[in-house]
Symmetry: C2
Subunit: 439 residues, 2 copies
Amino acid sequence: MTAMEAVKIGLLGIGTVGSGTFRVLERNREEIARRAGRRIEIAWVAARDVAKARAVVGDAIPVVTDAVAAVADPAIDIVVEVIGGTGVAKDAILAAIAHGKHIVTANKALLALHGGEIFAAASARGAMIAFEGAVSGCIPTIKVLREGLAANRIEWIAGIVNGTSNFILSEMRAKGLPFADALSEAQVLGYAEADPTFDVEGIDAAHKLTLLSAIGFGIPVQFDKAYVEGITALTDRDMTYAEKLGYRIKLLGIARRTARGIELRVHPTLIPASRLIASVDGAMNAILVKADAAGVTLYYGAGAGSEPTASAVLADVIDVTRLMRAEPQERVPYLAFQPDALSDVGILPMAEVETSYYLRVRVRDDVGVLADLARTLADAGISIDAMLQQGPGDDRGETDIVILTHPTRERSFDAAMERIVALPAVRPGYSRIRREDLG
Amino acid sequence: MTAMEAVKIGLLGIGTVGSGTFRVLERNREEIARRAGRRIEIAWVAARDVAKARAVVGDAIPVVTDAVAAVADPAIDIVVEVIGGTGVAKDAILAAIAHGKHIVTANKALLALHGGEIFAAASARGAMIAFEGAVSGCIPTIKVLREGLAANRIEWIAGIVNGTSNFILSEMRAKGLPFADALSEAQVLGYAEADPTFDVEGIDAAHKLTLLSAIGFGIPVQFDKAYVEGITALTDRDMTYAEKLGYRIKLLGIARRTARGIELRVHPTLIPASRLIASVDGAMNAILVKADAAGVTLYYGAGAGSEPTASAVLADVIDVTRLMRAEPQERVPYLAFQPDALSDVGILPMAEVETSYYLRVRVRDDVGVLADLARTLADAGISIDAMLQQGPGDDRGETDIVILTHPTRERSFDAAMERIVALPAVRPGYSRIRREDLG
């Protein structure tokens, strides 16, 4: 079909995503060439465990062990980094850029933590860095934000961007499981790792949200400014109450532009059950974007996994293949905005963020307790949107009161909570979950 | 920010989409320049009604009346066609291509009917044709299919791509309205035109589906081969029965790759209520794509309207701006696949399509009627998946029998129906609606 020479890739890593990339490229070789107009070939694979790599790629492709040294190979055009982490991956990417290679990576942690350094190095060498696979697996979220919605002023982005925690929350809701049991189930099924910290503590979601916020608003990558709260403290009881009030609880990454600064926060969130994103269950991802001209759009798909992530990685490879010899101004900027046109709008500290709250407190079932709670909130300027009291008290004379507030600043809410926990009828421990309308 | 000269646009048409394009470009001038690296300016507007155009654009921009003559203007780089239809729009686009202009259009009818001719002319002149606004409004469906999923073999595409008919179906379901009343409501609210034929007969959806099928499968644009059935014959009674069986009825455009050919069909479809796309209500659009590596992904947003469509039109303008001076091989092919790599797989005639059916027949409530129906279907090799009979007969001794079949060829189903309507207990008139699992 084409007389052009094949594009040669050095593939760093042959784990879950790497083997998917190898497999999809093999299987769809013709289909990809029909679109790209050129053949795309893997020149070699870099892997620490040669035997394991051989088990995936067979004997046809060389396997090298030193990724950092390998990227100097003059025969390759593109380095695909799917090792993950911020160690060898970072060294290899910086070395590859120094050798004039273009980069495709699915490494959200690396870009969220060291994006500034890496993009600057690439820019100085005229190298492309494509990272669709770093956010929401196969869903072309980065392309959509960078290009599809490029004429819009993005107002906010709210996404389910961690499949593991969404799977756990779905199981908690569907089966009434406590968090620990749902986590065990996720581990048995391979949706959660032995050490699930990155997923269940919201860190992985915050890495992705950081990248999305940069692309959406034209701000630098600022992971250290993100507010991050995971799902480990969620109880099935709160899920049940939320349900009764017409809500679902999801771990959302939210980036919002406000007059006072950019909100950048990951936390469990009550969302109206009627919203499409509330029905996104299991290990799936979905990103909602509110933009001034387009309105609300939603993008849904598998957020992780071997071939879904490979789909994104290879889409990037095709894009890079097309634009390898193009002038820099013919390429989409790494973070959507021209590097000299970034905004210095600050990230809003969480205490300054305005949102609504779900509050559950356990109280002695006495006359006047509810009035005391309501009065304390009112004194802090917080008005109540809905309330749920669970019938008469249990045999210890205790009952749950659930309150949905109207929007208020987190600082005010925290101050009110200090006074509420000091009320004599209020038992230790309470649940506070933020609530978003997403309309 | 940039010393590069502004890109100049000739805007053909200043109706709903044209005025949105003007407005969004004015409002987001800075945001767009921050991304595109160049200013984008409207040089003039072509409109038949100068006074009406002036009411939108004021005095700052010239208004010309002859679109076909105007596109020769050497000062413009890009022609944005939002006139619609296949008359002046076609002449103006062909004239613009002849003058070496790049084209952005939201004209699905024109491309579905004359895409072959227009793409060939553009290719010969090295002109770009971008048409994101032609399908599903602001949702970047074409970009997603052409680029985001470029590494995949697309298996099928199923979409709600006509907001008017989806609004009508949503109203019929929510309020139990007959079709005619829901249509009137849509007309009063501005969701349907005085002559709603294009929308409610499925023609508009088929235009869009035709474009999606070309991009998804690498086949030529073949609107004349599409099977098209609208929603005018749907009854609220069928919506109620569908609901009872766990389904919703949506007007879907379906393009599917099979071993025997490509399915290309628009018709009302029962889909499981649990699918995300079943909850897409009102004038919204959603496209489901099944791809071999990515799995199922969904894209949701406003499918029409002034600013949502402008969002897509201007995204195209930004893309074209970037690649105006690029080499042809650096641009994404019009229809995703290289023009010399199109496939000649045929479109499957509807009689050969295999799908499941919802069938409602009105029968005399006699012993043995159900057995006769089941026997007739069995004789045609059609097996029954579920059945619903509405209690005892009415005062005329008549009742509805609803049957869901397993997949069968349409030819077999039609043959069985000929025998079923000839059964003595079967009353004239029946409903037959195709059913898809979309899993």
